[in-house]
Symmetry: C2
Subunit: 181 residues, 2 copies
DNA sequence: TACACCATGTAAGGTGTTACATGATTTG
DNA sequence: CAAATCATGTAACACCTTACATGGTGTA
């Protein structure tokens, strides 16, 4: 466990960051497979500092705004590396509220059921389109699709998200077909 | 929120059940999209009883083993129905620890990275095979693939799980190819 | 009679969300 | 100069996991 710990460690390892930066990173780039609110991040940063895995430098922005720029320590790098090398059993399948509803489909009025699926389809199509835009931007910005290039991680996970959305859409369309006839 | 509440309500609505039954149901049938431990279920059952959404009958098994068979009330059915009809915004994408690791791929030694992906591939192939077996069994047992038939919910979500696993496997294979060359 | 499984609960602690709280800087 | 964004934190509460705790039933 302690996954947030390693998520933060990994981000700081990529580039020294403030708590605010990390929050943004989570809710922009990583949001397709990890996220956290700032209320969880700041206490965790304190904890990691106490554990000697990161350290910070106070920076004054403008006149008096203090911000803490965190850097990973050698100890932190070792800890991260160890976590990256771990090969653990598969996590339980993530929870999916829509599928939970779908499981109770035979209790639902057919029209409502259809409306539900169509609405869900819409939302996932929007998300897919958003992700595709992200991919266009990424391929402009970075040299991707090559291991050890710094954009490789970004590329494969974004590609994974696109594949996942396409697949979910396929499933929804399949269900809609079955509901109709 | 209060999703566990509705998950339990839905299960009891399908068929009167004990806490033990519900626990098994979660960890057998529903595990691909929802689950909970008994330590979460028993307190929730108490809560739902207090709210008048379910009620129980004490049954003696054998000589003296007491078990509580829960049944949904009219109030409970209304509450469930209302939840089933809700159309809420998309949940954030579920967290995926493996993708979190993958995001930090450029920090990893290429051999270790490859081993990670191959191991992950193995595990997902096993899960897929397990799910396919489940589908074979389900199609023997019930009349499925028809809305309003009682097996329809079971069928579409199991089918969704199979599709999801196939897709994840495809992504892993794609990544492995990219890592190799 | 031992072992697997049935059956129900509580306690402690970790993880995550929402709301509260405050203030500075940048940009239009 | 107003609004958006930058920046950091705490408190209360909800959700979830692990471990503790106890005892009955069925079957080989």
């Amino acid at each position: 466990m302690r996954n947030l710990k390693y998520a933060i460690l990994g981000i700081i390892n990529r580039k020294p960051s403030t708590g605010y930066d990390i929050t943004k990173e989570f809710n922009d780039s990583l949001v397709e497979f990890w996220y956290a609110k700032h209320s969880q991040i700041y206490p965790e940063l304190k904890k990691l500092t106490d554990e000697g895995l990161i350290l910070f430098e106070t920076i004054i922005q403008g006149e008096k705004l203090e911000k803490k720029l965190y850097t990973i320590t050698e100890k932190g790098k070792k800890s991260l590396q160890k976590w990256l090398e771990k090969d653990e059993p598969l996590e339980p399948t993530p929870k999916d509220i829509f599928k939970l509803r779908a499981y109770f489909a035979d209790e639902m009025d057919k029209d409502i059921l259809l409306k539900q699926f169509k609405s869900q389809l819409n939302k996932h199509m929007e998300r897919l389109s958003y992700l595709k835009d992200g991919m266009d931007e990424l391929s402009k910005k970075k040299e991707i699709a090559k291991v050890s290039s710094p954009g490789f991680g970004d590329y494969i996970v974004l590609n994974g998200a696109i594949m996942r959305e396409k697949n979910y859409i396929e499933w929804l369309e399949d269900c809609i077909e079955k509901i109709i006839d």
